[in-house]
Symmetry: C2
Subunit: 214 residues, 2 copies
Amino acid sequence: MIVLLKRMFPAMRVKISGLDPHQQYYIAMDIVPVDNKRYRYVYHSSKWMVAGNADSPVPPRVYIHPDSPASGETWMRQVISFDKLKLTNNELDDQGHIILHSMHKYQPRVHVIRKDCGDDLSPVKPIPSGEGVKAFSFPETVFTTVTAYQNQQITRLKIDRNPFAKGFRDSGRNRMGLEALVESYAFWRPSLRTLTFEDIPGIPKQEHYLYPRA
Amino acid sequence: MIVLLKRMFPAMRVKISGLDPHQQYYIAMDIVPVDNKRYRYVYHSSKWMVAGNADSPVPPRVYIHPDSPASGETWMRQVISFDKLKLTNNELDDQGHIILHSMHKYQPRVHVIRKDCGDDLSPVKPIPSGEGVKAFSFPETVFTTVTAYQNQQITRLKIDRNPFAKGFRDSGRNRMGLEALVESYAFWRPSLRTLTFEDIPGIPKQEHYLYPRA
DNA sequence: TCTGACACCTT
DNA sequence: GAAGGTGTCAG
């Protein structure tokens, strides 16, 4: 049986300073609920709205950065990327992957754990707390989980930026923001021409509603 | 009984020159198939793709501009708007509305018809051809028919521009193009901060796929 | 995919 | 105030 799991894209990437260069550390990530709510995406306003209370909590998991443990010097020299971290909504996952509910909001946290505090670190155990452990989180990295993208701009973003999605890219098409789209709408430029014009490349055709009789 | 039909929005608007000011003319529009294909919208690439052959043709209809007939002078003095033209997918329509298939591509055409050539013009009769009749079409006005919008940018465009959709407008939210969205994505700006930042207003949260085991 | 009741708005 | 043009959303 194939295990299908998604990485986060874009991955969280951090740079650390202030470590003791000669001390050994583990670096880990966990992902915690932002609130107690379930969300739905409201298409017409392009916004996430509360749709009820959160589903019951799932076993918390920890992603241990694969370079762990390493010296402070090593950690500080590199950009630390969490691109191998995988998400699943399978509550029965026994591979130590991070389990989340769909349609909930989450916050990733980065943990820096001095080696002596982290030697029994495990994907399925709580992260230790105490003097040798520090957690960092950035509100701008809050995200909402989905099983299908709700927002086409996000789809485009993933396609444009994720090397694994290269196959879905257009050559220069569909890269337009709203302003360019408005600009391109021929109907707004009243004119009468007897010449025929080429299609403007990359501009989605207008769509018009049809409506049957009531 | 209320008859529900959709207008095209934005409406086609044209300006005409070169008419005989003292001659009377009819102005009309029809909408013809661009090709023999049916389309589907491919979400991941934001593109329309051929999905098979066109449905069988529907009775062609003609929209006669309500100011018709009028003198060349009158027509040339105004912007001629086709905003009252209505579309339906009801093949049994007997109100003379323009009948189209959903998920097909169409091209509107403007016809300028000298009065003596157009006196038996009717929504349900073919447009006469001959020396006193001229047709104009603009490839940039090709459109695809839908019964529900496929592309969120088009929805936003209609909401932003159509006075009748004012009720769906947000005050300043959701007006971002792709560039601003990319700019806002914190994951691309590797950093480690111990401060917490406020949410950037108006920026949709990241979404991440979850994937269950197959 | 398509429909129809709906709230909200313009005309 | 009435008629009618919007996208919405649940089915």
